[in-house]
Symmetry: C2
Subunit: 469 residues, 2 copies
């Protein structure tokens, strides 16, 4: 990074918003993966125009740019593997408008998911996607990852709620994709292409989203199983019951134990927990949960109950949403993976995951939880990255998760966290070489100099050679 | 078309499935627009391999290929404007599998929408997108157009239900996009890029779709208004009522009159009808409709009623779904347009549309109906294309619809029918030149020789010069 470029960056965003202090660079060097990479400079723009000028400058000088929100990625997606600029978008955090008549809200990318929902709640609306990190995750990051979370089973993913995007191309040009109407099929769908592209095609500066009326009521049931296989089969029973719940979450023994303790809940010993919620008008939420309970009971849970009142419901959800944080207290390193299988393969997937630590003499542990109703599991490695044997076992275990569980069972290497760094060695196996070539071609159209988030997912998101971790 | 190419096509699909008979060519020369274009040859493949070999041959010889389902397009999308091959996919019409555990069905592109729903109904499921042409439209065409219809307000568009596609690139290579799991964010979203690409990027040979459990009950209300403006405002009231109906349809005076007659319904004279439906467990459908009725009543409908029983509901829907067919009996030429506006602009849009025939001394008529809850209107021109003044008035009226109504009110030139031929002159105005360049770039990646559906939408779907109609 030449001093001339630094000076020009200072000109664009002001001296207060450019930082090369090693302490600051350090703060931006990690996310929630075990990887660490250092930028040359942190730049914090406040407007579309500033983003445009920063990108134009970087593009002219072939400087890598790594867009970043709150850095909650569990994939290494925002990490500056090739140095250059980390583009911190958290200052662009305004909710610009809420057009209640047209059921749409306009945001800057740095708005936090929970802040948006707190705002919308006042008007009787909500934005359904609900990652466990919703109290910190930015909408820009959620659009970039196409984040999902607990409610995707009924309400879909972030992508499904985005109507239009204002985004800046690497050359500084500002584009507007999609339509401000609820329905449009005019031209290729650039909005849905950008959403989920993990910061490799353009930088979002405004997001237009539709919103959903808040449901009148929720009903939540907790099921405990003495047997992992039965819990897996119960998911299928619940999914086949003919109604669509708004959440169907799975937690294995270790996750239940640690997160119940974290949330101050007294939960009996079990091999697995299912947490299933319905919503809608009160009578419907009630009736649909009853239908599901009846279906799940066929698999003989050792215990089940329907949450009494909002307080009990909230504590069950606190346990679920803090699963990752709770597990993180059990080990020096906690690495959450993200894979999906067809739901009929969940029992087999759980079995295979459970067997992985055994081949390393159990020097590492795996706790599994996730959005079972979508077939989306988060096997979470607990180990100590400072101990070479454990680190090696982790990387071998990682490979087993994606190759021997996800892909071998007809699944996908990522349900909602993206490819990033951690899954870059598996993406080529999921898609074929022809599909990869198409993705590479698309990348080249948007970012011919490969300045946006370079060094990620091997065959996509990079026209050059991937960085070796 | 050289005789050598014809011979090779015969080799691939068999003599019975290749046709150059002018009578046959004539049958494939139209859809439901006023345009007509003649292919050199009709080819009817039966398998992915045959599609692949036909495309490879066409690509090597730079012969245009026009994929076609049932030809119900209201955009001119399948018309062979540059001659060449019409690729009729209706022989590939098998439902290949229904995996009930994983809630997904696998189809060939020629399956008819209603046939799929008849099949799924036996198992308690349905595929929600419901175009008025569902009794004839193929799923391949629906994926290509990203078709929507009456239920999009609650259940989204065709694209939202597609999990994966098997498709053939112009060079004959077979690709597989998406994932067989309910959730995946691995790589760029080629599935959602292909869906809605109107046959310009690849030919679909297999479609993997998720399905939805059938709702227990429906409740349907009909509202009649003496005033167009009040009907428009009632849509906003209903949309703001805090619940999401599964349909919210609008029909203007002329559409009500003709389609009620068609369906044998006795409906009093009115300026507009709204048809609003809720679904779900019975108590919820009931309660949600009541909430909507209360909201709509604020706009003083001159009459309203809730359909009593399935028979009355069915006849209301027959009236709505036959709107286009009923209108077609009123004039020599009936051309259905497709535009969206933000729902708050519907009253103004209706006013502007109504004024258009006046400027041509009412030698043409426009009847308007559509999916009001999405802001999606279908102004339908009634005229006689054989009379030059009327044809000219139609083309000027067309331009007014897109420029002075849709785009001027912040809308889109297509909600669900696609750009095709009829909207090709307006797509550039909706998107900017930079966005157009990206779309062109994407087209070039998939179809460098521009053999797939060439001559459509001016700046996208064509790397060459567009055909002048």
């Amino acid at each position: 990074m030449t001093s001339s470029i630094v000076r020009q960056l200072v000109d664009i965003v002001g001296a207060d918003n450019v930082n090369t202090d090693p302490a600051e660079i350090y703060c931006y060097s990690r996310d929630s993966t075990p990887f660490q990479h250092f930028a040359d400079i942190i730049v914090r723009p406040l407007s579309t125009d500033e983003v445009s000028r920063v990108l134009k400058l970087a593009n002219l000088n072939h400087v890598p740019v790594y867009p970043r929100g709150s850095g909650t990625s569990a994939a290494g997606s925002p990490l500056p593997v090739k140095g250059g600029i980390v583009l911190d978008l958290t200052r662009m955090n305004r909710i610009l408008s809420f057009d209640q008549e047209n059921l749409q809200v306009v945001l800057e990318p740095g708005v936090i998911c929970d802040d948006l929902n707190e705002f919308l709640q006042k008007y009787g609306y909500f934005f359904p996607p609900d990652p466990a990190s919703s109290s910190v995750a930015t909408l820009g990051g959620m659009v970039a990852n196409n984040s999902a979370g607990n409610r995707a089973i009924k309400y879909g993913k972030t992508k499904d709620w985005i109507m239009w995007l204002e985004a800046v191309l690497p050359n500084g040009e500002v584009i507007h994709t999609g339509s401000k109407t609820l329905k449009s099929v005019s031209g290729y769908d650039l909005t849905k292409l950008l959403s989920g592209s993990e910061g490799t095609l353009a930088v979002f500066t405004k997001i237009g989203m539709r919103v959903q009326p808040l449901p009148e009521a929720y009903r939540t049931a907790m099921f405990l199983f003495g047997d992992l296989d039965k819990a897996g089969k119960a998911i299928l029973k619940a999914r086949g019951a003919g109604v669509v719940p708004c959440a169907m979450e799975f937690l294995d023994r270790l996750t239940v134990r640690t997160s119940a303790e974290y949330a101050g809940l007294d939960i009996m010993d079990c091999e697995a927990m299912l947490l299933i919620e319905t919503d809608g008008v009160e009578s419907a939420a009630e009736k649909e949960l009853k239908i599901i309970v009846k279906a799940v009971e066929e698999m003989n849970p050792k215990y089940w109950k329907i949450a009494e009142g909002e307080r009990e419901r909230a504590s069950l959800w606190l346990a679920r949403k803090s699963a990752y944080a709770a597990l993180a207290r059990c080990a020096v390193t906690t690495t959450m993976e993200d894979m999906t299988v067809p739901i009929s393969k969940i029992p087999e997937a759980l079995k295979r995951i459970q067997r992985i630590p055994e081949r390393f003499g159990k020097i590492i542990q795996i706790a599994t939880f996730g959005h079972a109703g979508d077939g989306n599991l988060h096997p979470t490695f607990l180990y100590d990255e400072r101990i070479p044997e454990q680190r090696e076992a982790f990387f071998k275990g990682l490979s087993a998760i994606y190759n021997e569980v996800a892909l071998d069972l007809g699944g996908s290497i990522s349900g909602e966290h993206g490819v990033g760094l951690i899954r870059k060695d598996f993406v080529e196996k999921e898609h074929g070489p022809v599909e990869m070539a198409l993705m590479k071609g698309i990348k080249r159209i948007f970012d011919p100099n490969n300045i946006l988030n370079p060094g990620k997912g091997k065959p996509w998101g990079s026209t050059g050679e991937p960085e070796v971790i």
